[in-house]
Symmetry: C2
Subunit: 552 residues, 2 copies
C-alpha cells in the first residue's frame, strides 16, 4: 500500500498500520468491550450538539495512535490551515475552497487573492433576506397580482441535492411557500411537478452557475413555456423567475430581472453550495432566520474542526476510521442509515458529497495513486433498511461499515413509535457488533425445544459473526443547527480523507467525457450523420433508437 512517490513519514505510517492490521487481525469488538470498561468514554466525543460514539469500531488505542500518525504525516493540520486561509487547494483548477466563508460568523475575514470575501457573502445574504421577506410576506406578486404559494427549484447535482435534502430534513420548520425540486432532464420530472401547480402562484429558481447546464436549462425552457402558455405575456417571466447564477447576460436574455439574480463564486464547489444562494429555496421555505441557524450550526462545526486537536476532532476521527476500513481492512463502501424519515435523502446527498469529491485516482504529483481512494456511499432510512438490506450487513460475506444517525426527540411523536425507532437503531448497532455465537444460538434453540436434527441443520444459518463496525451520531433533535453541524462534519471528514489519499477532492473532471459524447450521440439521434466512430454496441443502440425501438 505504500508508494514511492509519497513522503517517508507517510510511508512509515502506512507500513505501521499495515503491520498493526495483521496484528489485531480478527480481534472481536465484543472482547474489546469486555477488556475495557471505559471503551465508550475513550472512543466518544461530543460537540456542536452531536454525540459521536465511535467505540463500536474495530480499533484499539494503538490503531487510533497509528491513524493519527498517518494524519500528521499527511500534514492534515497544515492543509486545514491552507483551506481556511483561502489558498488555492483545488490545485487542478487553481481555486480556493471556501464554503466555510459562507457560514462564517466569527467576524474574521476570509481572503482570496488578498481580498476579503466576507462583504460579498454578506451582500448576497442580505439580498436573499430581502427577496425571501418579499415572497414570504406575500408582498411579491406574480404577473396577475397573486402572491406566491409554490417555489420550484430547477437545478441538478449540487444545485439540487443539497437544498432538496435540507428542505425535506427540516420540513417541520417550513412555513413559507411549498418547495419542489426538478433536476432530471427526463420530461417526466417537470411534467409531474407542474401537474398540480397554479402558474399564477408559482416562482421558479433557475440554479446554474454558468446558466448553461443542459438539464437545468431544458427544464427552465419547459417551465418558461408552461408559464407563457397560461399567462400569454413575456413580461410575466420577470415576476415568476429568479436565478442563482453568475452569467448575467444569459439570465437577462432569459427574461429574468438581474435584481433577482443571486451570485456565488468560483471558490464554492457545486457539492458544497447549499450554504450559498443555492440555498435560496431553503430560505424561502423556512425563512432567512432558520437558514442563518443552519449556517450557524455549520460554523460551529467549522470552528470545532479548525481548532480541536486531531485526536479530539470529530471530522478527523471519522475520516481516519474510514481510511482504516477502506485501505487496511478492504471495505469498498459504507452505509449511511438515518433513523429519521425526514432524512431519507441524506444518503443520496452524501453520496454526491463523498463520491464526487474522492472518486479520484491521480495524486498531487500527477501520478496514479497506488492505494484505494473514495468508497461507495449508499443507504436508506432505518427502520426500513432493517427489512431490506440489513440481512447482508449482518450475515453477508462482505461487511459494510455504517453510520447510524439518531435523534433523541421526534418532531412527530406518535404513541410509543419514537421509542421503538430508537430501540431499533441502538439494538442494531449492538447486534452488528456483538453478533450471536454458535453457543448462544444452540442454547436458545435447545430452550425452544427444537429437535436435534433440525437444530443442527439450522444452527450455522442463525449464527451472526458480529464484529461489524458502526458509528452512532446522536443528536437531541434534527434542528437547523444540528443539521448544519452534521453536514459540515461530513464535509470536513471527506476533506481530511482527500488529504490523506493525496488527491484533489474539489474538482470533477470525471463528468466531462460523458457530456462530450452525449452531444455527439444527441446529434445522431436527431438524424444527423455520425460525427465520429462508435464501438459496435453504441452504434447498435443509436441505430435502434433512431429507428424507434419497436420497428425490429
Amino acid at each position: 500500500m505504500s508508494n514511492a512517490s509519497t513522503t517517508p513519514v507517510r510511508r512509515q505510517a502506512w507500513a505501521a498500520l499495515d503491520q498493526h492490521r495483521r496484528h489485531i487481525g480478527d480481534a472481536h469488538m465484543r472482547q474489546m468491550f469486555e477488556d475495557d470498561p471505559n471503551r465508550f468514554e475513550r472512543f466518544s466525543l461530543e460537540d456542536c450538539g452531536i454525540l459521536l460514539d465511535y467505540s463500536k469500531n474495530r480499533i484499539t488505542s494503538e490503531t487510533l495512535r497509528l491513524l493519527l500518525d498517518l494524519a500528521r504525516g499527511s500534514q492534515v493540520e497544515s492543509w486545514r490551515q491552507r483551506m481556511f486561509a483561502g489558498r488555492p487547494i483545488n490545485f487542478t483548477e487553481g481555486r480556493a475552497v471556501l464554503h466555510v466563508a459562507l457560514r462564517n460568523r466569527s467576524g474574521r475575514s476570509f481572503e482570496v487573492d488578498g481580498q476579503d470575501v466576507m462583504p460579498q457573502v454578506q451582500a448576497v445574504l442580505e439580498q436573499m433576506g430581502r427577496f425571501c421577506e418579499a415572497v414570504r410576506s406575500r408582498r411579491w406578486k406574480g404577473h396577475s397580482g397573486k402572491s406566491i404559494r409554490e417555489v420550484v427549484n430547477l437545478g441538478i447535482g449540487g444545485s439540487d441535492l443539497g437544498p432538496a435534502m435540507v428542505c425535506q430534513a427540516l420540513k417541520p420548520y417550513a412555513d413559507g411557500p411549498r418547495v419542489h425540486f426538478v433536476s432530471n432532464v427526463d420530461g417526466t420530472h417537470i411534467t409531474e411537478t407542474l401537474k398540480d401547480l397554479d402558474p399564477e402562484r408559482t416562482l421558479f429558481i433557475v440554479s446554474s452557475k454558468s446558466f448553461t447546464t443542459q438539464e437545468t436549462l431544458a427544464n427552465a425552457r419547459a417551465a418558461r413555456a408552461w408559464l407563457l402558455d397560461r399567462m400569454g405575456d413575456e413580461s410575466a417571466i420577470a415576476s415568476h423567475f429568479a436565478a442563482v447564477s453568475t452569467h448575467e447576460e444569459a439570465v437577462r436574455d432569459f427574461g429574468i430581472d438581474p435584481a433577482n439574480m443571486f451570485e456565488f463564486w468560483d471558490w464554492v464547489g457545486g457539492r458544497f453550495s447549499l450554504w450559498s444562494a443555492i440555498g435560496l429555496s431553503i430560505a424561502l421555505s423556512l425563512g432567512m432566520d432558520r437558514f442563518q441557524q443552519l449556517l450557524e450550526g455549520a460554523h460551529r462545526m467549522d470552528e470545532h474542526f479548525r481548532t480541536r486537536p486531531l485526536d479530539r476532532n470529530m471530522p478527523v476521527i471519522l475520516a481516519l476510521l474510514g481510511v482504516w476500513y477502506r485501505n487496511f481492512l478492504g471495505a469498498a463502501s459504507y452505509a449511511v442509515v438515518p433513523y429519521d424519515q425526514y432524512l431519507r435523502r441524506l444518503p443520496a446527498y452524501l453520496q454526491q458529497l463523498d463520491m464526487e469529491s474522492n472518486g479520484k485516482r491521480i495524486d498531487r504529483r500527477g501520478c496514479r495513486v497506488k492505494w484505494d481512494t473514495g468508497p461507495v456511499v449508499w443507504g436508506e432510512p432505518g427502520t426500513n433498511g432493517q427489512h431490506a438490506f440489513f440481512q447482508l450487513l449482518h450475515q453477508g460475506s462482505q461487511w459494510v461499515p455504517a453510520d447510524f444517525i439518531l435523534a433523541a426527540r421526534s418532531h412527530n411523536p406518535v404513541g410509543e413509535q419514537h421509542r421503538m425507532l430508537l430501540a431499533n437503531g441502538v439494538a442494531q448497532t449492538e447486534a452488528l457488533m456483538r453478533g450471536k455465537s454458535e453457543q448462544e444460538v444452540r442454547r436458545e434453540m435447545e430452550e425452544q425445544g427444537l429437535d436435534r436434527e433440525r437444530l443442527e441443520a439450522l444452527l450455522p444459518h442463525r449464527v451472526f459473526p458480529g464484529n461489524r463496525p458502526t458509528n452512532t451520531l446522536l443528536v437531541d433533535r434534527i434542528t437547523p443547527e444540528t443539521l448544519g453541524a452534521l453536514l459540515a462534519l461530513y464535509e470536513h471528514k471527506i476533506f481530511v480523507q482527500g488529504i490523506i489519499w493525496d488527491i484533489n477532492s474539489f474538482d470533477q473532471w470525471g463528468v466531462e467525457l460523458g457530456k462530450q459524447l452525449a452531444s455527439t450521440v444527441l446529434e445522431e439521434l436527431r438524424g444527423r450523420p455520425a460525427p465520429r466512430q462508435h464501438d459496435g454496441s453504441t452504434r447498435a443502440l443509436i441505430d435502434r433508437l433512431r429507428k424507434g425501438f419497436s420497428s425490429s
Copy 2:
C-alpha cells in the same frame, strides 16, 4: 476461491475461471470491440420486450464459455426445474419458492406437496378483482357514505418496496384512488402522510403476513386512532381497513371484516410478494387489468428463463456477469441506473431483492462459504447520477459495474428532453467503456491551445481509464408488461447467483437478532430494569436516551 466442500466439477470451473482472469487480465474492451465487428450481435439478447446489450462487459467468448461451465457444474438447470416443480428449495425453512405460480398464465398446474396451488391463486386474484372494482367504481363507501379517494398501504420491507416502486413506475397508468405508502416506524412517516387526507375518503391496507410486524402494526394502530378520532365509531373500521395477511383472528380483532382479508402463502417470500395480494395497492391504483398485464410480463420472463438454453437466457447471462465481477474481478457492489424518473425507487427495490436474498455466508452443507456472495446494490436515476456519483464510476480507484435501464419512448415527451435523456444514457456507457487516453486528452488540449505547463499538470486528471463495464437494458416504453418482465429478470438473476454461490437465497435469518435485541432495549427505554447486560457503548446510549439527550 475453490472450496473442498464443493463438487469437483464446480471446483474445476472456478479454477479455470481464475486462470482465465489472469490470462485476460486488463484487456481493454475498446480493443475487444476493435477486434470483433460482431461483438454486439454476439453479446446481446432480445425477448419479452427487453433488449439486453451485454457487449460492454470485460468478457470474451471464452469467458462466457467458462462461466456457462460453472453454471452447468452448479446444476443451475436442475435447480431451476426444482423451483418450478414446487420443491422445498428454501431448505432452512423447508418451503417451496413459487412466486412464479402467482403469475402463471400457462394453464399448467403448480404443485406444493402434491397439491395444485393455482386454484387458490386464482381465487385470491378474483377476490382482489371484486374488491378493486368496488372501490374504483365508487360502489364501496366509507363509513359516512362517501367513496374512497385515497389508499394508504401500511407495510414494510417486501410489503412496501415492491408495491410502492411499481405504483411509482406505472404512474402514467394510474386512474384509481391515489396511493400512499407508510413503512417506517418513525412517527413522521404516518403523520406526514395523513396530514392532507380526508378520513371519510381513505382506505388503509394493513400488509403483514403474520399481522404482528412491529412497524406495520404500530402504524396501523396510529391510523386506526386517527380514523376513530374523526369518525367516532368503532364500526367505521370495517369500511376503511382491509388486510393482506393470513392471521384471520388478529385481523378480525383489529376490526377488519375477514371478507376483506387477502391471503398469501408460505411459498411466497416477502421480497417476491408484489405479485400476490401484497400488490393490492397496485391493482387499486391501476386497475386489475393492468395488474394482470404486470403478471403477464413477469410470466413471459418466467417462460424465457424456464425454457431458454443457458447461453441465450437473460437472467443466466446477467447472473454470470455478476459472478465474474464479484468473484473473479473483485467488485463489491453494482449500480442500477434507470434513465427514468418514474423508476427512481427501482434501485431501493433491487437492493432488498438482491441483498436480502444473497447476503448470506452459509452454504447448503452448513459450512461457511469460502467465496464472496451477494454484492451491495445501489443507484439513483440518470441523468441525476451523472451530476453526483458518476465521477467515481469514471475515475475512482475502484470500478463499479452498472446496469443502465433506458426506455425508447417517454410517457411525458417535453420538447427534445427525452432525446437528451437517451443521448446521455448511451453516451455514458460509451464513455465508461472507451475512456479517454492520455494521447486523446493531450491532442484535445493542444487544439484548445493550452500552454505547455498547464497542459502537463492537467493531463493525468483528465484521462479516463475506461474499461468499466455496463449492461444496457433497453425497452420500448415502461409498461406494465415490460416492468413485469424486468423485475422477473432480476429475480431469476439473483436465484441463479444463489445457486452458484451454493446458498439459500430465500430465508432471512439475519433480521432476527436485531429484532430480539430491540425488544430488550425498548423495555429499558420505557424505564424498566435492564433484562440483560450490554456492552459499554449500548449501555451509554441507552442511558443517554433515558435521561433525555439535553440533560448532560
